[in-house]
């Protein structure tokens, strides 16, 4: 939608530089019941939340539902945010990812996914395309490119696909220990590449 906004984003976070601290401050206000602060937070994080949920869940209607739940959870649980353990962005995105994974793991979704296993690697391509689609995502893409193929596949299937490491191992035909290691190595390499502290 608003490509200009996206392009002004700082490297890595997808948000303008310095925004992380602003969001931490906003979230603290939200914890005190400040609805205006929540509206500002919404405007900055609804896109990331919806995009991630949509990536994992895929179905637009369900994604919208889950994204709404996530954002409401941010409101409800804002007092539980602890800035000493990570940024507000990370906190929100972590909730979003968990909720998305919980959704795809629910019984109905699981049954549907049984039939869709063959579409899995196509899903992976779609992720790669989506990541490549936008300029400010360049950094994440470049960092993903720096991984070995097995690392990249393991990380993206687990994170964007919402699969357990056991499922990832099954899909890639690799040993459990190998996949556990590749997810960790891959994330460590991404962390170093993106400069996450």
């Amino acid at each position: 939608m608003d490509q200009r906004d996206m392009r002004s984003a700082g490297p890595g976070t997808g948000l303008p530089e310095g925004r992380d601290q602003d969001l931490d401050g906003l979230l603290i206000l939200v914890a005190r019941g400040d609805e205006n602060a929540f509206a500002s937070l919404y405007d900055q994080l609804a896109g990331p939340v919806y995009g991630l949920v949509r990536r994992v869940v895929r179905d637009p209607a369900q994604s919208e539902e889950v994204a709404q739940e996530v954002l409401l959870e941010v409101w409800r649980a804002a007092s539980r945010f602890d800035a000493s353990r990570g940024s507000a962005v990370t906190w929100v995105m972590t909730i979003a990812h968990r909720r998305a994974v919980d959704r795809v793991r629910s019984a109905v979704a699981a049954a549907e996914r049984e039939q869709k296993t063959s579409q899995l690697l196509a899903a992976h391509d779609e992720v790669a395309e989506a990541v490549e689609a936008s300029l400010e995502r360049e950094r994440v893409r470049r960092c993903l490119d720096g991984l070995t193929e097995l690392q990249r596949e393991s990380v993206t299937l687990a994170y964007y696909g919402g699969y357990s490491y056991r499922e990832v191992a099954g899909l890639l035909g690799a040993a459990l220990g190998t996949i556990k290691t590749r997810i960790r190595d891959g994330l460590i390499r991404l962390r170093d590449c993106m400069g996450v502290t």
Binding site: G51, R54, S79, R98, S106, V140, Y159, S164, V196
Partner: protein, 247 residues
Amino acid sequence: MRLLRHDLHILTGAYAVDAIHDETERDRFERHLHRCKPCDSEVRGLTGTAARLGLAASRPPPPRMRGRVLAAVARTRQMPPVTDHRSLRAARPGRIPRLTWAVAAVSLAVILLLAVTVVRIQHQLDQARSRDRAVAAVLAAPDARAVTKVTSVGGTATVVFSLARHSMIFTSAGLPPLRSGRVYELWLMGPPRVRPAGLLAAGPAGRTVPVLAEGLVRGDQVGVTVEPAGGTRQPTTTPVLVMTLPS
């Protein structure tokens, strides 16, 4: 043992991307995280990294979503603060593991053991055990200890705590009832700051309902004050109890 720990440590990545779906395995890893500082800080870094992958998937939400969420916010009550971030993780919907018979058996054994020294509180602990697996986990912790003290207004307070699990359970008996609009509030009082740890609700037989408080660290004292109903963020009155936990 080294092998096992190494094996657990490898799971930091899978944990950061929510790829440990087996509850038992995830619980075991979370317990390991509480004990393993380097693992915990690695998980934090990798969770931040994963969040950036998430940001890269950003896309515009349907415009109608904004109004719906803001309307829902306007009619949704917020959760009170807790003293430990981890409890959010535990409160995750659909992911609360059931109390296993093994844990129940272990905690029962510990309770019976404690009962020898702290007979008075056995009944309270027993109730606590059945109420909450987290309470059972504190009771079952190898380093769990019990302390009892008389408050300045009468009645006794008992704390069972585990520094390894950063948790404590607080119960009391015989605290005088308060006039309406007042409540006993529990605090974790550390050298850096005082954190609210919950309100004491009246239970049967003059006891208060056991409260589980997380985020306990070495050097914390446990305090109780009388506060306006609903509690406050910082104590506003002189504590009726300050209890030092032996380390």
